[in-house]
């Protein structure tokens, strides 16, 4: 919380997320992927760099189940995890 005494530095301004809000996964469709990801994190002492494959799988699950707008994974920063695919297939609809 930005207190009134913080005159020297810039006050914190919350910003809206770039792609908006995730719809809630009411039916737990991607719960399995989430569990895999959390297990990977726990095994790797919570190092995100080693669990990027699992996070990519989770987001792909979301996209498949209409819980996230479909986007090419490069736009989500997973360029390094992609095999070089033929580009017209990988391109989904823009949000």
């Amino acid at each position: 919380m930005s207190t009134a005494m913080n005159f020297g530095s810039k006050a914190f301004k919350p910003r809206a997320p770039d792609k908006g809000s995730f719809p809630l996964d009411h039916f737990g469709e991607c719960k399995a992927f989430k569990e895999t990801f959390m297990k990977c994190l726990r095994e790797n002492s919570f190092d995100n760099s080693r669990c990027r494959l699992q996070s990519k799988n989770y987001l792909e699950c979301r996209m498949d189940n209409q819980l996230m707008a479909k986007e090419p994974l490069e736009k989500l920063g997973f360029r390094d995890l992609m095999d070089p695919p033929p580009s017209p297939e990988a391109r989904g609809s823009k949000p």
């Binding site: 301004k13 910003r15 908006g20 809000s21």
Partner: protein, 259 residues
């Protein structure tokens, strides 16, 4: 005479101009004419420079002086009133003016978000700089959700996208709608903390006895590594707070866009 002395001294102390007059008065003491004393006393009390007055009756000169002073007072009052009204108008005008200024210079944080969408694609992770992101979850007293992070901390590097989860459970028998906001500590690191997608600022509805996972997909701007102020920052804390939302209420998105 003794009674008049304190009256004499007080104005003379306040007004140093009258001290020569006081000395003159003291010189005239031996000649003690009561009328003269009373005259001098009235001079002090009224604080008029005695050289202007020969008699106590109003002369045209003193009347003219009064008028001039009154006119001067009026102009001064007009100036002060105008300044006051001007200040009030300025304070009202400052709001749209400041908004324009912020949009022009991007100081309000509005311009920072523009280039982010292309940055995610092209940014390179800075593998040497490991940052610990700690997660915190809070709920407002009135909302009956159990809201907590699923991991206490995560190690990320700037330029790499990361995923984190929170969990919320509605253990009551009626659906509750929550809406959340977030905070990043330290404040200066907040400008480098970019969320691609999360669950904040929009109403989230939880049915009775429902539990959901809430992901946050974020990254830290690679320029974080180059900022000298961030050189000693190793831990960033992301804190979410959930509030209960009334039906149909919509939080305005932060920023200056009122479209």
């Amino acid at each position: 005479m003794l009674l008049l002395l304190p009256l004499m001294l007080r104005p003379s102390l306040c007004c140093p101009l009258t001290s020569p007059l006081l000395s003159r008065f003291i010189r005239t003491l031996p000649s003690s004419s009561i009328q003269g004393l009373r005259f001098q006393a009235e001079l002090f009390l009224q604080r008029r420079p005695p050289s202007h007055l020969q008699t106590r009756s109003r002369s045209r000169k003193s009347g003219g002086l009064d008028e001039e002073w009154r006119r001067r007072n009026k102009t001064v009052l007009m100036y002060i009133a105008a300044a006051g009204v001007g200040m009030i108008c300025l304070s009202y005008a400052a709001v749209p003016l400041y908004r324009l200024y912020c949009q022009a210079t991007g100081l309000g944080g509005t311009a920072v978000a523009e280039h982010n969408t292309d940055l995610v694609e092209t940014m390179k992770p800075v593998k040497e700089r490991i940052i610990k992101v700690a997660f915190n979850a809070d709920t407002h007293a009135s909302i009956q959700w159990n809201f907590k992070p699923q991991q206490t901390e995560i190690l990320v590097v700037p330029g790499e996208t990361a995923l984190a989860f929170y969990k919320a459970k509605n253990s009551t028998d009626k659906p509750i709608i929550g809406i959340s906001t977030y905070n990043v500590v330290p404040f200066e690191a907040g400008q480098y903390f970019n969320k691609i997608q999360c669950f904040c600022f929009e109403e989230q509805r939880l049915n009775p006895h429902e539990e959901v996972d809430m992901p946050v997909f974020f990254y830290i701007d690679p320029e974080f590594d180059e900022d000298p102020r961030m050189a000693r920052v190793d831990t960033i804390t992301l804190s979410y707070t959930f509030f209960e939302a009334k039906d149909g209420q919509k939080l305005p998105l932060p920023g200056y866009s009122y479209n």
